[in-house]
């Protein structure tokens, strides 16, 4: 809370930054060290999309969250967000679940696997592939 905007830009990059496993560090930075979401975790196939109007929480999003928010102007699954932004899957689930809970993103439903009408619909569609 005491950090001021612009402060981080004055910090020079360390010469050995590249020696660190960047992906691993990034995953923990993204989630601030959390490996579980504070809110219920969404399945990796959940389709997420940006709200049609800018969510009131938009100004509070950090850089990575904004990137996610921009990307899902075209709705896509959490797994696809993870692949496109090269965010490890675990981190993507945590970040996106929290953004959905905060109202920054919308989430689609996952298919009810016990719904036989849905399964019949899927079968017909596969037959037409």
């Amino acid at each position: 809370m005491t950090e001021r905007p612009g402060q981080s830009s004055s910090v020079p990059a360390d010469a050995d930054d590249d020696a660190v496993d960047r992906e691993l560090v990034r995953a923990f930075m993204l989630t601030r060290g959390r490996t579980r979401a504070a809110s219920p975790e969404l399945p990796i196939e959940t389709i997420v999309s940006a709200p049609t109007t800018l969510a009131p929480t938009h100004s509070t999003l950090d850089r990575e969250q904004r990137k996610i928010s921009t990307l899902v102007a075209v709705p896509m699954s959490i797994a696809e967000v993870s692949a496109h932004l090269t965010i490890p899957l675990r981190a993507a689930v945590v970040l996106i679940s929290e953004m959905v809970a905060a109202g920054s993103l919308r989430a689609g439903e996952t298919v009810d696997t016990s719904d036989t009408n849905m399964l019949l619909k899927i079968r017909s569609a596969l037959q037409l592939l």
């Binding site: 496993d21 992906e23 691993l24 995953a27 490996t35 399945p43 990796i44 196939e45 959940t46 389709i47 999309s49 709705p75 699954s77 797994a79 696809e80 993870s82 692949a83 496109h84 090269t86 490890p88 899957l89 675990r90 993507a92 689930v93 959905v100 809970a101 109202g103 919308r106 989430a107 689609g108 439903e109 996952t110 298919v111 696997t113 016990s114 036989t116 849905m118 399964l119 019949l120 619909k121 899927i122 079968r123 569609a125 596969l126 037959q127 592939l129």
Partner: protein
């Protein structure tokens, strides 16, 4: 404000394609996916410590494994994702995230290495995740009938065993249909196929 589930939006489902290295998972996914298969990274961190054979895997504190996946737009409202997940026991840390809530799974195998599929079969049986078994035809591998594969893996009659060519779209499509029909049989929405 609290209605974060968008009921008007597209619904999604997932199917797991499990199998050992080089068994054709990514080829299978690519044969029917409407997008080029994408790759995401699953990290083995804390979960690995609890795994029985984590020590055999790697001594690093973190290992990552790539998981390839694709998607099929079934209709305007339904998208199915196909996740290819490594079938060996040492990757069990990522199975829950990929498999829980899945429609079902296809255990892809090479008849030359049947034992590679044991861990995945045991896992899906234990979690009661419906699955079928599919033998990918490799030129170098012994020909085996579905019944021989069933016998070698001690699979119950109720579990469909098919053979396929993972490079062939029609072949892969038929395997997916077999899985969905198996789900319908399990829910008594289709009669069980008669085995001769």
């Amino acid at each position: 404000m609290n209605d974060v589930i968008d009921r008007s939006a597209t619904q999604s489902a997932k199917i797991v394609i499990a199998g050992g290295f080089g068994v054709g998972k990514t080829t299978f996914v690519g044969a029917v996916s409407e997008i080029n298969p994408l790759s995401t990274e699953a990290s083995m961190t804390a979960a690995a410590a609890a795994s029985d054979d984590a020590g055999e895997v790697d001594t690093k504190t973190s290992t990552t494994v790539a998981m390839d996946f694709g998607r099929i737009g079934v209709s305007d409202e339904i998208i199915i994702y196909l996740f290819g997940t490594p079938g060996q026991q040492r990757f069990a840390f990522m199975w829950d995230q990929v498999s829980l809530g899945a429609l079902g799974a296809i255990v892809l195998l090479d008849t030359a290495r049947l034992a590679d599929s044991h861990a995945a079969i045991d896992y899906f049986e234990a979690r009661q995740i419906p699955f079928i078994v599919a033998a990918n035809r490799f030129a170098h591998s012994p020909a085996a009938t579905a019944e021989q594969v069933r016998g070698a893996l001690a699979l119950p009659d109720a579990i469909p065993v098919v053979d396929l060519d993972a490079r062939d779209r029609g072949s892969v499509k038929n395997a997916l249909i077999t899985l969905v029909e198996h789900l319908l049989v399990l829910r008594s929405a289709l009669p069980a196929p008669v085995h001769t």
